[in-house]
Symmetry: C2
Subunit: 366 residues, 2 copies
């Protein structure tokens, strides 16, 4: 069987993107031998610059990028792959940009499949969500985004498989945020003030640069919305009832500097929440979709320490999927839900799934 060359156009060479390139370079021989595929990165970009290398980047890609990357527009990318006759195209969005998702549809129309770590495209208005899927169908292209929820954990695919096999999913609930998992796991088991743990989380890189993005609950809400739509529940972001963890005095209307010096304001309310719980209970910040009552909620809950949710450790995610056949005992998927290594590996798995589809088509033509 001849080797199949796959051209990955990578948008974003931050933590996830650069780890992805290095993982692929490291495993190139393995992919060639085990799967007969040759994964290449002929174009890599950051937010403003693109580096073009027809044969794909090599070990020294960072130096090459620094020397030779040039300003680009999406049209330049499309023109280049057409001029060079590059086939089997996968655009990987390893950014968090709101801009780049506007290019998804033009990319699909020009022969690209898409893999996104970026959650934005799946949480905008349903009109865009559906328009994107119409284009994928019309142009026979694939869009995968397993890492949108729980990084490399098998969550999106599991939910999709259950739903499309006719299983009735009744509820999805879980801790979807590594940063908030870390904060509440420590807060529940230690005597340390909330503000101190929050600052530790920031220092250890578990939070966004502005930790209010995590505390707002919006990130958890986005992940929940993505899963809800996966099982054809037609919710918008505005339908989600979000109990934010931010106080009025600390919310986004205040400067980051003001936020930084006033974090001890969190200590009193969270301490009250902690000590007023039932015995052997712990606090967890969860997202919950109840399909029966059609409610999407993001909230702080108090759960028995002896439950799976109560036993959570480190910065782990935990997602419970309740279905008709499984009854009261959910399917639980648990593990590191963030981190550049596991996220890049999840993106790579999506790339390989699309590669398999391309390979099936190639086989037919032979």
């Amino acid at each position: 069987m001849s080797t199949l060359r796959i051209n990955v156009i990578l948008f974003g060479i931050g933590n996830v993107g650069s780890t992805l390139i290095n993982q692929v370079i490291e495993s190139q021989k393995f992919f060639l031998e085990k799967r007969n595929i040759d994964l290449r990165f002929p174009i890599i970009t950051n937010s403003t610059l693109a580096f073009f290398e027809k044969e794909g980047v090599k070990n020294q890609w960072e130096a090459n990028f620094a020397q030779s990357a040039i300003p680009f527009r999406i049209e330049d990318i499309i023109d280049y792959v057409q001029e060079q006759n590059l086939e089997n195209l996968i655009a990987v969005d390893a950014t968090a940009s709101s801009e780049i998702i506007k290019s998804y549809i033009p990319l699909i129309q020009n022969g690209f499949n898409i893999v996104a770590a970026n959650k934005k495209a799946n949480t905008l208005h349903l009109d865009f969500y559906n328009e994107l899927r119409r284009n994928l169908k019309n142009f026979d292209k694939t869009f995968l985004y397993e890492t949108n929820v729980g990084a490399g954990l098998p969550v999106v695919q599991t939910i999709k498989d259950l739903h499309f096999s006719g299983e009735k999913i009744t509820k999805i609930r879980g801790v979807f945020s590594g940063s908030l998992s870390y904060i509440f796991n420590r807060f529940s088991s230690e005597q340390t003030p909330f503000s101190k743990i929050l600052i530790d989380a920031e220092k250890n890189g578990y939070t966004e640069p502005d930790s209010r993005e995590d505390l707002s609950g919006n990130d958890v809400a986005r992940k929940l919305l993505i899963l809800a739509r996966e099982i054809e529940q037609k919710f918008e972001f505005s339908d989600i009832k979000i109990a934010t963890l931010l106080l009025l005095e600390l919310n986004e209307k205040h400067s980051k500097a003001q936020y930084a010096i006033n974090k001890t304001l969190f200590d009193k309310p969270f301490n009250i929440a902690k000590i007023t719980q039932a015995e052997n209970h712990v606090l967890r910040y969860v997202g919950e979709l109840d399909v029966i009552t059609q409610k999407l909620e993001v909230k702080l809950v108090s759960v028995p320490k002896s439950t799976a949710l109560g036993q959570l450790k480190g910065a782990d995610n935990l997602i419970e999927i309740y279905t008709k056949s499984y009854g009261e005992i959910p399917i639980v998927v648990q593990g590191a839900g963030a981190g550049k290594e596991v996220t890049a590996r999840g993106v790579l798995t999506d790339i390989l799934k699309i590669t398999d589809k391309i390979k099936i088509k190639e086989t037919v033509f032979q």
Copy 2:
């Protein structure tokens, strides 16, 4: 897009097989509307009889089978699908038979894909295992068996995805048996004698008809072997170190009647194992593959109650996957690992995955 007709030849109409037919009949409209596929069962069989119905069985299939099923050999099945020009063939093995797996290779050579709930084909000698895969490759067919481990839980696919994305799996450990999970979860939290819980498990249908098959550890060993081979570890069944739970006086050399009246012999040794544990520890029967040391073991262990394994409830399975990127904190998949509803749904998911592959090929031809 035109509707794709998929012909499922079902071997075995016991618990899983009959549930599968009913699930498909129930969801037929959903599959037609959502996926444009028409799943049919033109042939269904039990161990000796086959029922042929070109248009596929309907709601009254049990009555039809009782009336019109006839003795069959595999050649009859192959002749029939050829005479009737049935395409897009999937043979589903919902039996536990050692005989039927001999037909896998002839079926593949005659155009069948295979989905198996039956674990046998993956636990025989590696020569057969590899020969089967060579045929799949040569005839461009697919063999899926997600339900071999953990029924509908996403275990096999997750391990496969991790391995083929280049991730290094270092250890797989877990409770792979619903019956032994039930027995040890109750034994650890109650004061009830082991023999009494074992008899309850038998009565509730959690064990095999002869519960010594569960207690022998062979079933756990088989599941572990399947996962080990999935990540290209070339073990044979005989390489597994199995610490059986059976006593010499109760093993398979004695009659089932003798076994039945002597179960209280279990009580003393298990009680000793229980009371000699460290405080806040519980007993669990686990399978463990250590890739680094190349050890495959099935054994009774004592673990802290506060761990995920220690928190296990009901008849749940729990599988931990340790990898290089995830480090010390494993990916954990947990949930009901047995039961006709969830197993049949897992088989159906495998059928739909093969259907997707067939669909991609069809699209190319259009």
